[in-house]
């Protein structure tokens, strides 16, 4: 189906969301709580766009809006720019010292608020819930959103080391504001108040993941592969590819 975005037509696939279509075509829509593979959050509201269908125009979150035939999308009307600025301003109030939010504010010309702001704030979490979603997708479910209102936060049950946590670091990986502290030191990993022993890559010897994470993956996939870090894994696949190519020619 054809979708009109900012005057140009783009080919959309069935079941795709508006944001996915936009990202695929390099159309700039700012977003924080979106990550391919972990879609459908609609929490940060930064990806708001205007959708016109027939004679009706409405404002939607593009990350959770499924595309359909005959819609016309505007990503930078006066209204949208204002909403975007307001949202970034509110995020700045929550995390005034976060580098990423600050750079976002600069990019979208948001003047940092001077009133009602705690200039010494160490808050970095915007409560987008991506980490919770990542943990859920891993199947570990060690963290969740706890409390509510002004005390809402991401945490493990009772703030203790969770028996479900495998130290994979998926939560820290997806965090848009770099809030989750993952410390690798002396072959030990510290995350969510839990200590893990790191395992070295069997090729390059770099300590890259935890015992628990490897065991978890092996158990889930019913395999027992040698521990390999990302770059070594890529190298091996490349070598195999090269070999098979040589066999052909």
């Amino acid at each position: 189906m054809k979708i009109k975005i900012d005057g140009n037509y783009y080919e959309g696939n069935l079941g795709e969301t508006l944001l996915e279509l936009a990202i695929r075509n390099n159309i700039d829509i700012p977003n924080l709580c979106h990550k391919s593979g972990l879609i459908g959050q609609g929490r940060c509201r930064l990806c708001m766009v205007e959708v016109t269908e027939g004679t009706k125009t409405k404002i939607v979150s593009s990350c959770v809006f499924p595309i359909k035939n005959g819609i016309e999308v505007s990503t930078s009307t006066e209204n949208i720019i204002k909403i975007r600025k307001d949202i970034i301003m509110l995020l700045l109030l929550r995390t005034p010292n976060n580098e990423y939010i600050k750079s976002l504010a600069e990019e979208y010309n948001v003047v940092p608020p001077t009133r009602f702001v705690d200039v010494n704030s160490k808050e970095n979490c915007i409560l987008c819930g991506l980490c919770v979603k990542a943990c859920e997708s891993m199947g570990t479910n060690a963290i969740s959103l706890v409390n509510r209102g002004t005390t809402k936060a991401v945490s493990t049950p009772y703030d203790d080391a969770s028996k479900d946590c495998i130290g994979c670091g998926a939560c820290a990986d997806v965090c848009p504001t770099n809030n989750i502290k993952l410390v690798d030191k002396n072959n030990e990993r510290n995350i969510w108040n839990k200590k893990f022993n790191l395992v070295p890559c069997s090729r390059c010897g770099k300590y890259y993941t935890t015992e628990q994470a490897i065991n978890y993956v092996n158990k889930k996939l019913n395999t027992n592969e040698e521990p390999l870090c990302d770059s070594c894994k890529r190298k091996i696949i490349g070598e195999k590819f090269k070999e098979s190519c040589q066999n052909i020619y």
Partner: protein, 165 residues
């Protein structure tokens, strides 16, 4: 693992009671809140080991149950008092001096709102409106309404509860 086998070794009254409450419900996610409410009613809070057995019974991650238990104000992770004093701080009560009333009760029981006395008898909670504005300032102790409160009256009421023990 069945919930019974988990508790074979522990024979406390608390665990037997909690098992009976949990087993009243089918093993479905949608009964989480109902179970938690029943546990709260029975024990005046959600004990940690019972939260673990709920998660095992419903086959849900503990983090999910913890998330629900911390979200609702009517569920508590710390033991609440036998008598829960809910003081209204809605607009009408506020104007008619509910803040003074809260201060007075706090001083009398030597605890802050949200806390429980050491003997486990009283908890103070501030609520936003009890819907009885004509009785302002009003408070509720375990479902019983006390309207048009002032210093003397509140002292008499609390002394009455203290005396009843």
């Amino acid at each position: 693992m069945s919930i019974e086998s988990n508790y074979d070794s522990i024979d406390s009254e608390e665990s037997i009671k909690s098992i009976n409450i949990i087993k009243n419900y089918p093993k479905e996610k949608r009964y989480t809140l109902a179970i938690l409410q029943d546990i709260q009613k029975e024990f005046n809070y959600i004990p940690r080991d019972i939260m673990v057995s709920i998660s095992e019974y419903l086959n849900l991650p503990l983090s999910d149950i913890y998330s629900i238990a911390t979200f609702y104000k009517s569920l508590s992770l710390k033991p609440k008092g036998k008598y829960i004093i809910k003081v209204c701080n809605g607009t009408a009560c506020h104007i008619r001096g509910s803040n003074k009333l809260i201060e007075e009760i706090s001083e009398m029981l030597e605890i802050l709102p949200g806390e429980t006395t050491e003997d486990g008898l009283f908890s103070i909670e501030i609520v936003n409106c009890l819907g009885a504005c004509a009785l302002a300032p009003v408070m509720v102790i375990n479902g019983k309404y006390y309207g048009d409160m002032n210093k003397e009256k509140v002292k008499a009421v609390i002394d009455e509860y203290k005396g009843a023990i």
